[in-house]
Amino acid sequence: MLEVKDLKTYFYTRNGVYRAVEGISFSVKRGEVLGIVGESGSGKSVSQYSLLRLIPSPPGKIVGGTATFDGVDLLNCSQAELQKIRGKKISMIFQDPMTCLNPYMTIGDQIMEPLFIHDKLSKEEAVKKAKNALEEVGIQDALNRLKSYPHELSGGMRQRVMIAMALITEPELLIADEPTTALDVTVQAQILDLIKALQKKKNTGVIFITHDLGVIAGIADRVMVMYAGQVVETAPTAQLFEKPSHPYTRALLSSSPALHARGERLKTISGLPPDLSKEIKGCAFADRCPERNDRNCGSENPKLVELYKDHFVANCEACIHHSPSNTSKA
C-alpha cells in the first residue's frame, strides 16, 4: 500500500547539515502494523513527518527518495493532491495530546473539521459521526463531550480524542507517533487495546513509532529498528525478538531492566549516538558497537541484506554472523 524508497531528509542549520534521515526504504501493507523503534534523534519521527510533508521548511528539506501511496508519489505530488490524501486516506496521531489539540476549539469542532473539508458533510451528519467516533474510543456522554474544551479532559481522554480524530475519515493508513509515551501504564494499556481493536475492525495499515520495546512486542506485526537516520534491521516481530541480528538491536533488547534479575548488572551501550551534522563513514554504530570487528566497520557503508526470509539487516559483515543465535542461518 505504501512504498518508501531511499527517503532522505536533511535539516540545513547554521551549524551545518543535519542528516536526520539518511536513505531509508520500507513498505506497509494493508492491515499491517509496522513498528518503528529507535532512540531519540534516530529519525523515526522525522521520516514519518516527511511522508506527509509536515517538516518545517526551511530548515528541513526532503532531499531525495519517493513514497508511493496508492499510485501517488507523496513526496513529489502537488499540494492539492496531497491535501486530498493527508487527513483523509493517511492520518496521524501525534505524541503529545497536551499540546496537539487546539485549546481554543471545542473537541467537537476539531473532530468534525476533516469531515467538513474532505467529506463535505452537513453539520448534522458530522455531529452524528463525531458522536459515534467518540463512543467508539470509549468516551462516555459523547454528545456533551463534543462541547468540551481540551483542558477539561484528562491526558488519556485527550489521547482518545486524538485517535477519534485520526480515525474519523476512515483512513487506509494511520501513522501513530509515540501515542502512549506521555501516558501512564494503565492508560497506555487502554489506548493500545483500542488501536489494535480499531485496526482489526477496519483493516487499517498502521505505522507505530515508539522507543518502548515492550509496546512494540505487543502491537506490531513487523518491526523496523532505526539508528542515526538509517534502518539497521527490519523483521517480523517474533523473529526480531528471537533472532536479533544487528548488534544494535541486540544491545537495545538486552539493556531492558525487565529482562534482568534484581541486582544483576544491566547491559549497557556505551557512548552516545553519533553527531548527525557530520557525515558518517561506514557503520554508524561502529563507535559504540560491543561486537566491533575492525575489518570494514569504519569504511564501508553497510547495505540492508535479507538474512532470513523477510528479515533484513544492515550488512555489517563483521558483526552479524558473530552471534550464536545466528548459527542456524537459513
Binding site: 532512540e39 531519540s40 470509549g138 484528562s154 491526558g155 488519556g156 481522554m157 501512564d184 501504564v185 494503565t186 492508560v187 497506555q188 494499556a189 487502554q190 493500545l192 487495546d193 522507543h211 518502548d212 520495546l213 515492550g214 509496546v215 512494540i216 512486542a217 505487543g218 516481530t237 517474533a238 525478538f241 544491545a251 537495545l252 533488547l253 539493556s255 531492558s256 531492566p257 525487565a258 529482562l259 534482568h260 534479575a261 534484581r262 541486582g263 548488572r265 544491566l266 547491559k267 549497557t268 551501550i269 556505551s270 552516545l272
Partner: protein, 329 residues
C-alpha cells in the same frame, strides 16, 4: 521498640485551593498525600510506584520537607525532623538529598559543573577551601564524568551526563538517604541502563538508603528491595519486590502489573491484560470509601463505596488495604 532508620508516620500533605485575590478563602483541598506511613532500614531501597497524580512525588518531597507536610511525623536516624525549626533542619539537610526527574530543568544553566558541585561543599563546609577542587574531581569520577569537563556548562552535556551531574550534586554532601524522583524517566533506554547501573554501584559502595520514585514497574522491580504502590494519596499495597511481583493482592496492583509491556512477543500474546476503565478520581473530592472502587473490576459490595479501607499486614511483611477484594486466593 527500636527505631528504624527512617520512619514516616501518618503524613498528610494537603494543598488548599483558594478563591479571591485579597480576601481569599479556601474553597477546597487537594489531598495529595493523605495519611502515609513508611519505615526504611539503613541500606534499603524502597520503590514508590503509581500513576501520575497519585502523590508519589509530593510524598517524596514532603519526607525531605521540601514541601511542608500538613501533619504527621518523620523520624530520621532517631531525630524527629518533622517539627525541627528551619535552622536546625538546615544542619541536618546534608544527610538527606534528592535527585530530580528532569536533568534539563534541575541544573542551573549558568553554573558550570564546578560551580554546581562546589556550592554545597562550601556552604556546608564539607571540605576545606583548598580541597574543594579535588573533591569536585573525586565526585565527577565517582559518577563517571571525566574531570576535564569541570568548567563546562550544562548545555554542553547530553541528558545522561546531566543526570550524572545531578547525582554527583546529591552525593556531594555524603548523604545517608537519597530520594530519587523518576531519575531515569527522561532518558533513552540505552542511557537509562547506564544510570541505573551507576545508582546500583553507588548504593553498594556508599551503603545508601534510597527511595526510588517511578512509574516504570520494570525498573522498580530491578532496583528495589521493597515496593509501595500508591493510589490517590495513599499506599494501597506494600511488600518485598519478589513478593509483590509474584503475588499481588490489590486489584489495582494486579492491573498495574498486567499493563507493563513486556519486550517479548510470545509472552505478550499469551498473557491476560486487566484493562482498567476510566481515570483515577480527582484528589479534590475523593470518594468516601475505597478510592479505587469506581474503577475496580472486582468491586464486591456497596461497602466498597462507603468504608475507607485500612492498610493491614496480611502476611508477614506484605501489607495491603483490608478490602474484601484483596483476600489471597
Amino acid at each position: 521498640m527500636s527505631m528504624s532508620f527512617l520512619e514516616v508516620k501518618n503524613i498528610k500533605t494537603h494543598f488548599p485551593i483558594q478563591k479571591g485575590s485579597f480576601f481569599s478563602k479556601t474553597v477546597a483541598t487537594v489531598k495529595a498525600v493523605d495519611g502515609v506511613s513508611l519505615t526504611l532500614e539503613q541500606g534499603e531501597v524502597l520503590g514508590l510506584v503509581g500513576e501520575s497524580g497519585c502523590g508519589k512525588s509530593t510524598l517524596g518531597r514532603s519526607i525531605l520537607r521540601l514541601i511542608e507536610p500538613t501533619s504527621g511525623e518523620i523520624f530520621f536516624d532517631g531525630k524527629e525532623i518533622s517539627s525541627m525549626d528551619p535552622k536546625a533542619l538546615r544542619k541536618e539537610r546534608p544527610q538527606f538529598q534528592m535527585i530530580f526527574q528532569d536533568p534539563y530543568a534541575s541544573l542551573d544553566p549558568r553554573m558550570t559543573v564546578f560551580d554546581t558541585l562546589s556550592e554545597p561543599l562550601i556552604f556546608h563546609k564539607i571540605v576545606g577551601k583548598d580541597e574543594v577542587e579535588n573533591e569536585v574531581q573525586r565526585l565527577m569520577k565517582m559518577v563517571g564524568l571525566a574531570p576535564r569537563f569541570i568548567h563546562k556548562y550544562p548545555h554542553e552535556f547530553s541528558g545522561g551526563q546531566r543526570q550524572r551531574i545531578a547525582i554527583a550534586r546529591a552525593l556531594a554532601l555524603r548523604p545517608k538517604l537519597i530520594i530519587a524522583d523518576e531519575p531515569v524517566s527522561a532518558l533513552d533506554v540505552s542511557i537509562q541502563s547506564q544510570i541505573l547501573n551507576l545508582l546500583m554501584d553507588l548504593r553498594n559502595e556508599l551503603n545508601l538508603t534510597m527511595i526510588f520514585i517511578s512509574h516504570d514497574l520494570g525498573v522498580v522491580k530491578y532496583l528495589c528491595d521493597r515496593v509501595a504502590v500508591m493510589y490517590l494519596g495513599k499506599i494501597i499495597e506494600l511488600a518485598s519486590s519478589d513478593e509483590l511481583y509474584a503475588n499481588p493482592l490489590h486489584p489495582y496492583t494486579k492491573a498495574l502489573l498486567s499493563a507493563i509491556p513486556l519486550p517479548d512477543p510470545q509472552a505478550e500474546k499469551k498473557r491476560e491484560r486487566i484493562i482498567l476503565q476510566g481515570d483515577p478520581p480527582s484528589p479534590i473530592n475523593p470518594p468516601p470509601g475505597c478510592s479505587f472502587a469506581p474503577r475496580c473490576p472486582k468491586k464486591s459490595s456497596a461497602l466498597c463505596e462507603t468504608k475507607m479501607p485500612q492498610l493491614i499486614e496480611i502476611k508477614k511483611d506484605h501489607w495491603v488495604t483490608d478490602c474484601p477484594c484483596n483476600v489471597p486466593a
